[in-house]
Symmetry: C2
C-alpha cells in the first residue's frame, strides 16, 4: 500500500444492512432477493458473512486491510495492501481511497477489473472478491460520484488527507521532510486533486472458512432489468 | 487459499543466507554482488529485509502467509492467500506448494508472471515481489526440479499431504466426509499426482515500511553471463 492509503478513518456504512441467513447447505440454489424496508435494495448473500468476519476480527487493527490485485499495463499482475473504507450506502460496493498518481489508476483505466483477497487472521476466513472498479477523481462528470468522493475525503482523518499533498508516490525520493505547506491543511477544505475514490462492484465472491473447511462460491448475474441476482454453491476447499 | 496449501510445514531454508547491509540512503546505486563462501551465489539485497521481517513476526502464525496475484485466462486478475515454504537453497527463489487441479495452474501456464503481496502485521512492513513462476508437477522432465518437488513434499506435514488426495478443489461439493482411503497415507510415499511445487523467481521487489515511512524499490537486470544484478532506489511512499 502507499502509506497514504493507510491511515485508518472511520469505517462508515458498517451497520448490519442485512439479516438474511446466507449459507445454505444444499449443493446449488438461487438466493432470494431481500428487500430492505423502504430501501428497495437487494442484499448480497455473502455480505453478512463479511460483516461477521469484520466484527469478530475488529480487535485487530489490520482486519480492515486487504490485498487488491490488478493487471499492469505490461500484462503482469500487480498486488498491494489497501484499506477498506466501507460499503457504498445500501449496496455491496466497496470503497477504497487512493492517490491518483499511483500506478493502479493507470492499470485500472487499462483493465477495470480487480480481485480483493481478504484474509481474516483471527477467524481464519478468506474472501476473494472479484469485480469492476470505478475510478472517481475530481474530473468525474457524475454529481453523485463526486459527492461520494467528497464524503470519503471528509470521512478520512486530517492526517490521512495530508498525505495527498506529499510528493508523487513511487518517484525517486529527493527530500527527507515534507514542506511546511504539506504540514498544514484546512480541515474544511474539500478533496485535493490527488485524492481518488475507487468503487469496486463485485460480481463474484469466493468464501473459505479454514476452521470448518467450508467453501462457498457466490456468482452474480444481471436480470432483464439490470438487477444483480446472486447464486451460491458449496464447493470443495 | 485452498486449505490444502495451508497446513504449515517446516519453513526450511530460512537460515540467514546473507550478511549484507541492504538499504543505502543514497538516492540510487548499484548493489554490490555478494558471494557466499564457496557457493558462488549472489545475495539479493532485499532478502535480509525479508528474513528480518519473518523473524520479527515469527510469533504470528499468519506471518508466513501472503497473497499471490496472477492473471486469469479471461484477462482478469486473480488473488489468493498462500503459504511461504522457504527459499530454494542458495537463491532468492520462493517455494510454494499447491494443488495441480486449481485454477492458478492453468493461469500460470497462460501468463507465467505473478506478484506476491506480503504484509507483516506486527512490523508494518510490506513486500511486493514480482517475478516469473515455474510450475513443477510430476511430469516435469528436469531431474533437479523433480527433486525439489519431492523435497517440498516430504517437508510438508502428513496432514498437509493428505489433502492432495481429497476431492477436486473448486468443484461442487458432493460428499461431506472424505473416504477412508483419503484418511490414510503412507508417510514414506513420494508426491502424489496433484502435488505441485511453484517456484517464483523475483525480478522486482517493492519494500514499504510504514513505521518509518521508508520505501525502496529493487530492480534486477541480467548481465551478459545471465547473472542477476540488483539495483535499488529510495522512492516516495
Amino acid at each position: 500500500m502507499e502509506s497514504l492509503d493507510f491511515v485508518p478513518s472511520n469505517l462508515n456504512n458498517f451497520g448490519p444492512n442485512c439479516d438474511s441467513k446466507t449459507i445454505s447447505h444444499t449443493t446449488s440454489y438461487c438466493v432470494k432477493r431481500k428487500k430492505k424496508k423502504g430501501m428497495g435494495t437487494i442484499t448480497a448473500p455473502w455480505k453478512q458473512l463479511l460483516l461477521n468476519a469484520l466484527e469478530s476480527n475488529s480487535h485487530l487493527k489490520h482486519s480492515s486491510y486487504f490485498q487488491l490485485a490488478t493487471v499492469g499495463c505490461n500484462g503482469r499482475p500487480s498486488n498491494r495492501t489497501l484499506v477498506f473504507r466501507g460499503f457504498q450506502e445500501s449496496s455491496d460496493k466497496f470503497h477504497i481511497n487512493t492517490d491518483n498518481r499511483t500506478h493502479k489508476i493507470e492499470e485500472l483505466k487499462h483493465c477495470p477489473f480487480a480481485e480483493i483477497c481478504w484474509y481474516f487472521t483471527d477467524s481464519w476466513e478468506q474472501f476473494r472478491i472479484n469485480g469492476r472498479v470505478d475510478v472517481i477523481d475530481g474530473s468525474n462528470p457524475d454529481t453523485f460520484k463526486l459527492q461520494q468522493r467528497e464524503k470519503s475525503w471528509f470521512a478520512s482523518s486530517v492526517k490521512s488527507r495530508l498525505q495527498y499533498l506529499g510528493p508523487n508516490p513511487g518517484l525517486p525520493r529527493i527530500s527527507e521532510h515534507q514542506s511546511e505547506e504539506e504540514d498544514r491543511l484546512d480541515p474544511s477544505i474539500g478533496p485535493v486533486a490527488a485524492f481518488c475514490l475507487l468503487v469496486l462492484d463485485p460480481d463474484q465472491v469466493d468464501y473459505l472458512n479454514l476452521k470448518n473447511n467450508e467453501r462457498v462460491k457466490f456468482i452474480s448475474t444481471l436480470d432483464m432489468n439490470g438487477v444483480k441476482n446472486w447464486t451460491s454453491e458449496r464447493i470443495n476447499p
